[in-house]
């Protein structure tokens, strides 16, 4: 039987989707519904990717403060995208078909993450503190390199890159969305098959190895999966730094369990609900007079601080 709290989240998810689709619906109804439907699908894919990636990452790092964003995963993605524009030229880049672009960005991202973090793991296996330090430095390095390349390319090419630099659900490409959904689906099925194993890995390397888990191999696979999840969300809408931290804290506080079979769906649902409600409020209450990131980080940040102060998050 599904957990009561998960059912509650599913209900909230359905309500917020309905609200988003139907609120203030007038004029050419089908046209508007189609537009909103695409955006809603984008929000769902991004929310699920961010929620799952963050919980997985925190399971690996044994820490509730670290997120892929802090380790420089999304900065790496932006760097990869900028360097592709830099080396191919903006005209060639914009001429490439959407799904191909998405696939290329994702593959480059996973390869770069595997090369960098794989090398890091071989040198300093399981020294998570060193990893965090390196991650923070990597993030800074990636952002600086990205900024440097963006200053070198000409303004029209910069405009192409700029679109990916800030979180925006305005222009989700339909073919990109389909490619992202398929990838998300495949990854989720893979993660689903690892669920009990993830519970053991959350014990940490030592205890998990004593229980017969080939920790290093699984850690490597999970890092690849996390890189792909981050690629999905960053490719579709750009970096949303704070959301992952908020979502995983809420999922842990609400579910109060170590079991990923409950944590992962909860994190995915919470992320989607926050994104859908945030985007709805942003479009209809604020009339697009801000950015979604500001809405989410302001409201989400307040909620996070309140929960932290009340001791609900630990």
């Amino acid at each position: 039987m599904p957990d009561r709290r998960l059912l509650f989240l599913a209900g909230l998810f359905a309500v917020s989707c309905g609200l988003y689709l139907l609120w203030g619906l007038q004029g050419r109804i089908w046209f508007i519904l189609e537009l909103r439907g695409i955006k809603l699908a984008g929000l769902c894919v991004v929310g699920a990717a961010i929620g799952i990636a963050t919980v997985l990452f925190q399971t690996l790092s044994g820490n509730r403060i670290l997120t892929p964003a802090i380790m420089g995963f999304d900065a790496l993605f932006l760097l990869m995208q900028t360097s592709v524009v830099f080396f191919l030229g903006g005209f060639n880049y914009a001429g490439l078909p959407g799904p191909f672009l998405f696939a290329m960005n994702t593959v480059v991202m996973v390869c770069a993450a595997v090369l960098l973090f794989g090398a890091l793991f071989r040198r300093s296996r399981n020294d998570i503190q060193l990893m965090i330090l390196v991650g923070v430095i990597f993030g800074l390095l990636f952002r600086s390199l990205t900024g440097f390349m963006q200053r070198l390319i000409d303004p029209s090419e910069f405009a192409i890159v700029q679109g990916t630099m800030f979180a925006s659900f305005g222009g989700i490409n339909r073919t990109e969305l389909i490619a992202a959904s398929i990838l998300l689906g495949m990854l989720s099925i893979w993660v689903w098959r690892q669920l009990p194993l993830l519970d053991v890995m959350a014990l940490g390397r030592g205890p998990a190895r004593h229980l017969g888990v080939d920790y290093d191999r699984h850690q490597f696979q999970l890092l690849c999966a996390i890189a792909a999840f981050v690629a999905i969300s960053t490719a579709l809408v750009g970096p949303i730094t704070f959301l992952g931290l908020l979502v995983s804290a809420l999922a842990h506080a609400l579910m109060r369990t170590h079991r990923h079979v409950h944590l992962l769906p909860a994190a995915a649902l919470i992320a989607i609900i926050i994104l859908v409600l945030g985007q709805g409020a942003f479009e209809r209450l604020m009339r697009l007079q801000s950015t979604l990131a500001v809405v989410i980080e302001f409201v989400g940040g307040l909620l996070f601080l309140v929960l932290l102060a009340k001791g609900k998050i630990r």
Binding site: P196, D199, A202, L203, G204, L211, G212, V213
Partner: protein
Amino acid sequence: MISVNGLSHTIGPAKILDDINLQIAPGGVTALIGPNGAGKSTLLSVVSRQVPAQSGEVSLDGADMKRIDHAALALRMAVVAQDVGVASRLRIRDLVGFGRWPHAKGKPSPKDADIVAQALAQFDLTALADRFLDEVSGGQRQRAFVAMAYAQDTDWLLLDEPLNNLDLRHARRLMSELRNLAQNAGKSILIVLHDLNYAISWADHIIALKDGRVAFAGETQDVMTSRTLSALYETDVSVMAKDGKTFVWHHN
């Protein structure tokens, strides 16, 4: 039988283990003793394959430990390490339940639940079973980790200073349960001990390490003498007998 042949281990500039050769016989309690920094914990973590052997070889029943599959090893050897920090919010019952992972692989049967319940009862944890691990005392947490290894139900059980944080009632109960497991269930137990009185009362065999080398090893009553222990710790230690019980006097 665990055999250690020519094992050496260095951490940075320090030689922690220096050409160790040992046979640890199955079926009995073997205590590892020695002063601080003698290499007891390092030896235990190399034998439990937590740390790979740098030079030399460790074998379990004749098979090189390096070649034993992770999952297969977990069915033969359970380990209780020193102060394990667990990040996830776990209830004690769930932690002990993880001891069944090598057998059940995430699909626990009623039999596994029975074994977990028995392990909880054995280590006096039934009343605490639904408490979170970060909401109990250090000694209770320590017992939960021992119960988890117990639930793993392996032929070999390796424990690194399990008496840390335990009060005398639970320390004595743990040692007597280990002795019971060795005598009646045919388990083999390797345990790092600091308290010589527990070692002399409960262990069948003693391995004493000093400066990364084996100082002495053998049957407890043969090797635990005032002379050997005083030399081992470079401190006056007297082994005494009173009312048929042996104890070690070293406090003053």
